[in-house]
Amino acid sequence: MKNFVRSNLAKHEAILLVVVIAEWFYFNSVGAHFGSLDNTFDIVRHSVEIGLLALVMTPIILTGGIDLSVGSLLGLCAILFGKLWRDAGLSPATAGICTVGIGAVAGGLNATLITWLRLPPLIVTLGTYSLFRGLAEAITRGVDTFTGFPASFLFLGQERFLGMPAQAPIFVCVAIVVWLLVHRTTFGRSFRAIGFSPDGARYAGLPVDRRIAMVYVLAGIVSALAAIIYTARLGQAKADAGTGYELYAITAVVLGGTSIFGGIGTVHGTLLGVAAIAVLSNGLVHARQPREVAGMLTGLLLILALSSSVIPKIFARLRARRQTRRHDKAPNSKIQAPEKLQSSNTD
């Protein structure tokens, strides 16, 4: 059964890879500059922040949780970073380190509410989703923006380093760390166990609360990092930074094959999910389509990708039903298909 789940997941990832490649070739054929190096770098620049959020959303969803507050936290951290640099007079590096600390504290708040008060993650992070954004707006009174960052800082978001966008190496590092964490350590093993069965994990002696706390604190830290990169990319920090990013991140994770119920999923799947969304939204601009189409198509892609494993079974079931009608006297084969559908739905 594990092999089945694994191969099923691998199949899902293969389909997604094909989708990304198909997107690439299609947009390359309709948009003149789509395939250029500059545009590729543009795609990377624009997807790093959501990509970072999606990376840390993966272990959270693996534990059966969710974090709706990451987008708001990105906004809050961007503001606080600007505040620390402009008003407290810290250097961008020091301000950045402080911001990451603040992100960890904010993630810790989520973790505390979830593990100590035993509140569902959806409720807790729905609360902090409003709280963090509200704080950001209160601090700036809704109007204050931070601009005029030094070029040495903007380098991080706008220039090239080692021939690629400067934020790309950071993203790659975070991706490697999260991948190792999820796939090669006992932490990742624990996340899955908790996602499948929190009680079962507890009875196995796993430190369930500490592991849950870990994924939310990690999300806080990386959200802060994303906030800094976001600020460097746009050259300004506003209270509405990262609005709606949490949903993009969740979409990418689920598109990548991670089960929203926890336990099943991979980090590379998430990366493919991010790529599929990023290429699509960039490509549509090159295909001269309005922005709204991107959202629509992303939704369609999500639904298709998630039902891709079910569609062949539905066809099989229809075929079986037709056969039954034709050979009304042969009751042997008819029930097979729905049965298979049932049994594999439980995986």
């Binding site: 059964m1 166990a193 009751p331």
Partner: protein
Amino acid sequence: MSAPLLQLNTITKSFDAVRALKGVSFTLNPGEVHALLGENGAGKSTLIKVITGAHQPNSGTIEINGQLVEKLTPASAHKLGIAAIYQQPALFPDLSAAENIALGLEPTSGLRRINWAQRRAQARDLLKRVGADIDPETEVRNLSMPQQQLVEIARSLGKGARILIMDEPTASLTQKEVELLFGVICDLRRQGVGIIYISHRLEEIFAVADRVTVLRDGESVATHAIGVIDKPKLIRLMVGREVAAIYPPAQTAPGQVVLSLSKVGCTKSQVHDVTFDVRAGEVFGLAGLVGAGRTELARMLFGITPTDSGTIRLNGETIQIHSPQQAIDHGIGYVPEDRRRHGVILEMSVAANATMSVHRRIFPGAWLRFGAEQELAKKYIHDLSIKTYSPDSNVNTLSGGNQQKVALARWLATGPKVLILDEPTQGVDVGAKAEIHKLIRNLAAQGLAVIMISSDLPEIMGMSDRIGVMLGGTITAILDGKSADADAVMAAALGQTQRAGEMSAQ
């Protein structure tokens, strides 16, 4: 005699290449309790699913009340008066008993308003018919397990069930409740209902059944009237071989005291003043009725609901157990009662389950070492003869007995000093049961202190060196396992210690 209620003729059923049923014939007469017996995987569940219409047989015929039924679906089975009651009652916990029963009654046509008064009255009658002393207005969540089962039986009867399938109905009942259920079964029999009774407990089958059919590897090997067959013969028919001594004897004399409890209690779990010792190499049985506090005590010792009074000593040293991690560090392992929810993680592999409680030892620095994991898993698959396709197979592909062995393997891997087993053979077939019993004895012989909780009285009697009987959250008597008889244990569990021998206050 009139036509049989149900007649199955040479039913076969295959799943892909696996032939689950190979020409099974089965008859159920009105007013008969027909027991269905077989090891896990013998084909009982498949046969039940054929009878309830969930599976369509590949060949063979089904007759109900003498009528050939062309195609049985869940809906038509329901109409023909076939109902099944499973281990876990499938009721709506937030509705009252009456409402649950009423939901099963024939729906009134169209948009007509439901006549609740009439339905309540009907529900009350049905509850009376099954001899249930339940207020029909009680919410089902507030009913005990046996009461819920009675509600479910009443609901089946309300649907006009003439063929009642009971799948391990007594798995979570105490002896007393089992007897009550048997009373109900006898009443139903008198009313002409045919009952297919599935249980792993042979005593029950002898107590309640008229005939017994034994399934083995998808074939029905024999059908006998209960009067002409005895237990050893039945077991032989089931496993196809002699099961030598059912309970293996102690191999060594108990050694040093390992775990010592003195006036241990926990307000939250309503357990108080528990005092006993367990020695190395000893199997200490914990008997008592459901709700007496046995599982609660086990959870305290494993740190899930920590103790708040008394002292626990391990090898003479006072210890604190505030979390399962601490319990593991002290060398205490716990194989919980609810195997599927707590004992294993079904969706994960045998190997991942086996190493789950020894992460720190097997995976230093938190890095997974797949080689070491496979090695450990293979060792226990071999040692405990776990039947699995590979160490990477998910636990939910294994049978109940093998799942239990995986749960056990996880704790053996921790190298425990004390092992607490909570209903270790519940829902496990006879063959695997004997294996697990032998395993427990071997572990004790290796110097482990074993605490075994069981509601199966013969098991407690057969396995324990000493038996602690719990009642109302504390141990009321400690009996010697060899000299105690079942009556004494039962009497102590019921609080009637008129003569229960070795009353011990320690």
